[in-house]
Symmetry: C2
DNA sequence: CGGAATCCTCGATGATACTG
DNA sequence: CAGTATCATCGAGGATTCCG
């Protein structure tokens, strides 16, 4: 009981996360840089916008805000700027009135979206497992009555 | 110039992030849950500990702290507790003196590590591309100087 | 419409001290 | 050694206002 009847859209999609062992970075400098980079791109809003633009193609500023729903104007601007600066999105300003600014992914942004795909799929597939773990957390391994 | 001569350990590893289109979650409820779950596991320290345990197998509390280096004792405890609660790690207390507590990944934790693998590889491979984008950010598209 | 600027709050994190 | 508890800080992020 309590299991949400889902459509299994992603869940049965494929098995992109076969238990492969991920070799660690050989160089500590590289590892630090990689860690820093991930810290910036693995952001909450970045991931959502990435998914959105990957799906919709090209969107206006307000469009993105409405589709995400919960994001503030400040964070939307800030996140888009960072993504643009990191080469993930292209920002196009149409010189019309009222202003019209559109955003779309670069190839780099698309490749990042693809890389995150495995994590999304993992989350989809293991939602129940994690929730189960959280429920049983704290219970004694052998309840001796 | 300025390009770091790296060992290319991960960079030439494989191509786990072929530009596949990642289908979005069909159900908004699922998407919300997935987003929430990712928000918890995509944490900075979680990812580092995940990598560490995946590589080393089983480690003591202090071991992990020293290997990561920059983490505070508080965050280490907190992160490990969250990971244990979410079913990512197993915490084993050895009833000896002085105390000895060891941590290792569950299968769920290992699968998450594998899922993140694509992102690590992406970051390794596109470090230069992102840095290049950051350098050229702000420059006019067609410098008519 | 698409921002920039400002103010403000609150939670994440670090530092410190204590304990079993 | 492996924590727990407490206090202090600091910046992420929200709400609001103004502008081109």
């Amino acid at each position: 009981m309590g299991v949400i009847p889902r459509k299994d859209g992603l869940a049965s999609a494929d098995r992109s996360q076969d238990p492969q062992h991920c070799p660690d970075a050989a160089d500590p400098r590289i590892e630090a840089l990689v860690h820093d980079l991930i810290g910036r791109v693995a952001d909450k809003w970045t991931m959502l916008i990435l998914e959105l633009l990957e799906e919709k193609g090209e969107l206006r500023f307000t469009q993105i805000g409405k589709l995400i729903g919960s994001i503030s104007q400040k964070m939307l601007t800030q996140t888009l700027r960072h993504m643009e600066r990191d080469g993930l999105v292209i920002r196009t300003v149409h010189p019309v009135v009222p202003p019209k600014v559109e955003y779309r992914l670069t190839e780099l942004g698309q490749s990042l979206g693809a890389a995150f795909c495995g994590v999304w799929i993992w989350a989809e597939r293991n939602l129940d497992a994690v929730e189960e773990a959280r429920r049983t957390y704290g219970e004694p391994p052998h309840p001796r009555g």
